[in-house]
Symmetry: C2
Subunit: 137 residues, 2 copies
DNA sequence: GTTGTTGCAAATCGTTTGCAATGAT
DNA sequence: ATCATTGCAAACGATTTGCAACAAC
């Protein structure tokens, strides 16, 4: 059960073009990205970049609090910048795109049962985006 | 891209001990269950039951609206009864258990941007459950 | 020079599928 | 008798890992 390869907190970090490229791609993106999308985008700068390195650095950046994981039912994990302020997501059932909803409904955390301590929450809305509503999707 | 094995709507359904067992286990459970958990529990009644059959019947039951999928970040999909009324989930970071939170905060759907039509939403709270807060976890 | 990092390929995990046998209608 | 369903094993897609070469310090 030892995780030999994953980042260990007592490990010294060194800078690398690959990690910088992954982070840069995520910072630039307007929506959460899938690992293969990150790979493709980052390969523009580093053609030899491999998918394993993308995953390794995603884990490191996640660990470092630089990126956040976005999970949507039935889909693989996407990644987004952690420096965008608190927000939630809207998943369009028609075009499958994921949109950012800025802000947050109030009092979500008070909704937990008594005695439960809430440290974070996640809210996802599903439906049809404005563009698809107009018939474009 | 044809999905030969998955349930097709124009297929006649027959009853089976296996499907009944899977559904029964889910109805009895107090929390959403993982497929291997469902397998183990159902094997009490049907020792030869295989994991593939569990997945097949989960898909059928999902399709029939009998069960619902519950997705939690970083974990594989759990399944719960669809006959429990609308609710949300609390994931304990300490004991890793998933708890049901009855009810729903108001106005979540109004939170979507103008022009977006919301058909459903999902809210998950993360933190420490009451039991783990008391030091049991 | 030490040791974190990479790229590749092989391994792993959860899930799905092909197929011949079985069971419900 | 039909044809949906099963169990098994093989296949699959996403993610992780071992390892030798490489690069940052």
């Amino acid at each position: 059960m030892e995780n030999v390869d994953s980042p260990q907190s007592d490990l010294q970090r060194r800078s690398s073009r690959q990690r910088d490229a992954v982070q840069h791609v995520i910072e630039q993106a307007q929506q959460p990205l899938l690992p293969p999308e990150i790979l493709t985008l980052a390969q523009a700068a580093l053609p030899t970049l491999g998918i394993a390195t993308v995953y390794r650095n995603l884990k490191i950046l996640l660990d470092a609090g630089e990126v956040k994981a976005v999970e949507l039912p039935g889909e693989s994990t996407r990644y987004e910048s952690a420096h965008r302020g608190h927000h939630h997501h809207f998943h369009c059932n028609s075009c499958q795109q994921v949109f950012v909803i800025p802000g947050c409904p109030p009092d979500l955390d008070q909704f937990a049962p008594k005695g439960y301590k809430v440290s974070r929450h996640e809210l996802t809305l599903y439906g049809t985006c404005a563009q698809c509503m107009r018939g474009a999707g």
